[in-house]
């Protein structure tokens, strides 16, 4: 299970990196979003994947799931949601104001 999760995380990171390296602003934002999904899955995997244990440590229970990674992911998702929303709004505003979403034209070389 951990192996296939690792491969999936790798694929997500690859796609994210590819998208961030493209020129279109929207693709870049999608890329950051996909990378952060990859990170969330990584946190889950790093906490150890177990089947069928509640995140409670009772007297009779023998297995339990570590609940900390889930708490971390929940926080990370909320933060990522807010940042992505802000980023999207800002990129739309940039597109309206500067009239382009091509990163090549947003380089900001002097005296253009």
């Amino acid at each position: 299970m951990e192996t296939s999760m690792s491969i999936l995380i790798g694929v997500l990171f690859t796609i994210g990196t590819y998208l961030i390296l493209t020129k279109s602003l929207l693709r870049i934002i999608l890329g950051t979003s996909i990378i952060s999904h990859g990170v969330n899955l990584l946190i889950l995997t790093m906490g150890g994947l177990k089947k069928g244990g509640p995140p409670l440590l009772g007297e009779s229970s023998t297995t339990f799931t570590d609940s900390l990674p889930q708490a971390l992911i929940l926080t990370a998702i909320v933060i990522n949601f807010a940042v992505t929303a802000l980023f999207l709004v800002l990129s739309y505003r940039t597109y309206k104001t500067l009239g382009t979403d091509d990163m090549d034209q947003l380089r900001g070389i002097e005296d253009e």
Binding site: V39, M46, G47, I79, V83, S91
Partner: protein
């Protein structure tokens, strides 16, 4: 247990929330803001004195004992930085009154400013790695809005890049946290320190520590500073000054915290790398500062040089170097705010940031000119101003650690810094006066003069009165070089194994 520790986070947060409710009443917002920051400063002073007498203060949030709950910890290093933060924040806040403009004031500039301070204070105080991430995000999200608030073309273009860089580095931060959690099974800094000391810092942990170095290096502009000159020249002066003074310093604080508390077992790998990165940062920053003829560019490259210089004190990993770093960190926060406010004022008066288009400002603005001169001398560490002591101690530290090349590069770059900043003074203030009083684009207002004057007085006072803060700095150095004290303060006398 000491509830005072959490106040520097709570106070600006609540004040900011109240300000959102009274959006239209600008004057009330200003008064609340000043009051809040002063209270914050007083809390940090009383924290400093408590720490001096009773050792490191901590608070376990919600009463959950250390490795399970979130700890808020204040040691002397954090308390000193908290106090410096409140001083700089106060003057940048006052400076913004007449320069930031009605529009920005009506669109939540002041609450955002306080949220930024909340994040900065939170990062200084937290004793938990994930909580550090959250506080970083609080700070960064406020900074995203502050940098783009106003929506000019330049601001929008630069804020896109700024946000992208920070989103990626935040993802890497989480990645590093996940790896560290998998290896050690804890995220509490004190508990991490204990566990890493127990199992030994093997290759895997060292690799993770280098990942953290990359993440914080990106935030602190250590070597990975390519985003900084563009981003910091976009926002209005008061915002640029607070960014230059505080945001990179939070990254530096995180590097110091991790590499003195947790990953201090393999200095020949990690600390040497930090030294090399610091040297490259200083050299490239100094070259940039010398090369440009634009005030904003020169000042932003000076921020980068400062970062490199502070970090080589850590690289030496001697108590002398550490003490120098703390002195220089305090100095750098104040002087970077001051020099950005001065540069911004020059741009405000002349209406241009190109050095070749200005000349002879000293005739109409003698006080501004001389304050700039004092700031320039202080920046490059001329006695008796505040930069000197930090430079001496850091250089001595590198020599003690037998890293002579590092100290030499540090001294060489301070000469280049002096040249770059004198270039602004000579071109801007000397020479023939083109601009008569009437032709100037803007004038100095009372709040601007007050803010700049007080910060200049601070840098002189910090230089002449260095003896007075010596006790505190020495205390901070000692507790950083002995992580044991931190562990006892957080985990109790007999740390659970």
């Amino acid at each position: 247990m000491n509830n005072l520790v959490i106040l520097p986070i709570i106070i600006p947060l609540i004040a900011g929330l109240i300000m959102i409710l009274i959006r239209k009443k600008i004057l009330v917002q200003r008064i609340i803001g000043i009051f809040t920051i002063i209270v914050m400063g007083m809390v940090s002073i009383s924290l400093m004195n408590q720490i001096k007498e009773n050792g490191i203060q901590s608070l376990q949030a919600g009463g959950w004992e250390a490795p399970f709950g979130i700890s808020i910890v204040a040691d002397m290093f954090s308390a000193i930085l908290l106090l410096t933060t409140s001083i700089v924040a106060l003057f940048c806040f006052i400076y913004s009154f007449s320069t930031i403009g009605r529009e920005r004031e009506a669109h939540y500039f002041y609450p955002l400013f306080l949220f930024l301070i909340t994040g900065v204070n939170g990062s200084f105080l937290t004793g938990d790695l994930f909580n550090l991430f959250v506080c970083f995000e609080v700070m960064l999200i406020s900074s995203y809005v502050l940098i783009s608030l106003g929506g000019t073309k330049l601001q929008l273009r630069e804020s896109i890049k700024y946000i992208l860089i920070n989103v990626i580095s935040s993802s890497l931060f989480l990645l590093a946290i996940a790896y560290l959690y998998a290896i050690t099974g804890t995220l509490n800094l004190a508990h991490l320190s204990l566990r890493v000391a127990e199992v030994g810092q093997d290759g895997l942990l060292t690799t993770v520590s280098l990942l953290f170095l990359i993440v914080f290096g990106m935030k602190a502009a250590l070597f990975l500073f390519f985003w900084l000159p563009g981003s910091y020249s976009a926002p209005p002066t008061a915002v640029a000054a607070i960014f230059a003074a505080l945001l990179t310093k939070v990254g530096i604080y995180a590097i110091f915290r991790l590499f003195t508390l947790v990953f201090y077992h393999e200095p020949q790998i990690t600390h040497l790398l930090i030294g090399i990165l610091g040297a490259i940062t200083m050299l490239l920053g100094a070259i940039g500062a010398v090369a440009y003829w634009d005030i904003k560019k020169i000042l932003t490259y000076n921020v980068i040089v400062g970062v490199g210089f502070i970090i080589i004190g850590l690289a030496s990993f001697t108590s002398m170097g550490m003490m120098g770093s703390i002195y220089y960190l305090i100095h750098d926060i104040i002087i970077k705010a001051l020099i950005f406010l001065l540069g911004g004022t020059i741009i405000h008066i002349t209406g241009t940031s190109k050095l070749k288009d200005m000349s002879g400002l000293i005739r109409n603005h003698p006080y501004l000119g001389w304050m700039f001169f004092i700031a320039a001398l202080s920046l490059s560490g001329i006695p008796p101003l505040s930069g000197l002591l930090g430079k001496i101690f850091i250089t001595r530290g590198t020599f003690e650690a037998e890293l002579y090349w590092l100290g030499a590069i540090g001294l060489m770059t301070s000469l280049m810094v002096l040249y770059s900043i004198m270039k602004i003074f000579m071109n801007g203030f000397w020479g023939e006066t083109y601009l008569s009083k009437e032709m100037e684009k803007g004038s100095m207002t009372k709040s601007m003069t007050l803010a700049i004057g007080c910060l200049t007085a601070m840098t002189i006072a910090l230089g002449l009165g260095a003896e007075g803060i010596q006790v505190y700095v020495q205390h901070a150095t000692d507790s950083m070089m002995n992580p044991h004290e931190y562990l006892e303060a957080v985990l109790g006398k007999n740390p659970i194994r």
